[in-house]
Amino acid sequence: TVGAIGMDRNGGHMVSCTSTGGITGKMAGRVGDTPVLGAGGYCDNNVGTISTTGHGDSIMRYCLAQRIMQNLENGETPDVAAQKACDGMSARVGGSAGAIVISKSGEVGIGFSSPKMAWAYLKNGIIYYGIRKGEQFSVKL
C-alpha cells in the first residue's frame, strides 16, 4: 500500500490519498481497508488528514482512520494519536497497521504497530524519513 497526505501553505487545506494492490493470496473480489472511508484514510480540515496501511481486514474492523481522527479531536498529538490507535487495533482485533497523520495545525504524526513502515515527510525544506521504530534520517529537499 502507498499513501500521501498534505496540507497547503494557504489556509490549511488538506488531502488524503491511498492506493493498494491488497494482500497476496486474497480471494477474488475481496475488498480491503484502502477504499473505505474511516479505515484506509480520512480528511477533514477541521481536524486533520490520515492515510493508513497494514492488515486491511483488521483496519476495517477497527475503523483505524476514524479512531485516529477521534484521538486528534480529543487533543492527542498526531504521533500519539496514530500510535495509540495502531496499538489499540493490534490488541483488540489483531493484525498490525501503520498511519501517517497531519493535524489541522500542521503537525506531523507517524505511528505503526508493524515491525516496519516506510515513511517520509517534507517540512521547511527538509525531508525526514525512516522505516524502523525510533529511526529517523534527514536529507535536504
Partner: protein, 167 residues
C-alpha cells in the same frame, strides 16, 4: 511551504527492501513538491506522489501490486479532501496504471463516492484512461509472492510486497 507526508506500506518488510523503499518515498516527496510549486494544488501534489509509487514495482500498488488466488491484480484507491469532505474511491479495478487518478475522477465527475469492479473500469474507459496489460502490472516478485503463499500452505501473510504483502 506545504506539509507533505508519504508512506510506502507496512509489515515485515525484508531488509533488502529498505533501500528501494527509501529511494521511492524520497522521489515521491520530491515529485509532490515539484508539482505543488507548479500548480499550488496540494491535491495535485499528493496524487503525483501516489502515482509515482504506483509506477514503482518496489511498492504494492499499481505496477507491482500483489496477486489474488487466481493470479490476478485487483486494485483499490481512495482520495479525500478536507474542505468539503468530498471523496472518491474504487475497488476491484484492473488494467489501469493509476487507480488514485480514477478515484479522483469518481470524486469530481460522479454524484457518488465508491465505484467497484467492471463498472469502475467502464467508468475509467469513459474518462479516457488507457488500458495497461497484465504483463505491465504483474512483476516477477508478485508471482514469486503468490508461489510462496501456495507453498506455505496459504498461511496468513505477514511480509510485505511480493513476498506476501499486507495492503
Amino acid at each position: 511551504e506545504p506539509v507533505i507526508v508519504v508512506h510506502g506500506g507496512a509489515g515485515n518488510i525484508p531488509d533488502n527492501r529498505d533501500q528501494p523503499k527509501f529511494d521511492g518515498i524520497l522521489t515521491a516527496i520530491r515529485k509532490a513538491h515539484a508539482i505543488y510549486k507548479q500548480t499550488s494544488s496540494i491535491m495535485d501534489a499528493c496524487q503525483a506522489a501516489v502515482e509515482y509509487m504506483e509506477d514503482e514495482p518496489a511498492f504494492n500498488a499499481g505496477r507491482g501490486s500483489v496477486l489474488n488466488l487466481k493470479g490476478e491484480i485487483e486494485m483499490e484507491a481512495l482520495i479525500m479532501e478536507g474542505k468539503d469532505m468530498k471523496a472518491g474511491s474504487v475497488t476491484g479495478v484492473r488494467n489501469i496504471a493509476h487507480p488514485i487518478a480514477l478515484a479522483r475522477k469518481v470524486m469530481e465527475n460522479t454524484p457518488h463516492v465508491f465505484l467497484m469492479g467492471a463498472s469502475a473500469n467502464e467508468f475509467a474507459q469513459k474518462m479516457g484512461f488507457e488500458t495497461v496489460s497484465d504483463d505491465y502490472l504483474i512483476t516477477s516478485d508478485a508471482r514469486t509472492g503468490l508461489d510462496n503463499f501456495f507453498k506455505s500452505g496459504s498461511e496468513p501473510i505477514t511480509t510485505e510486497i511480493g513476498h506476501g504483502g499486507v495492503g
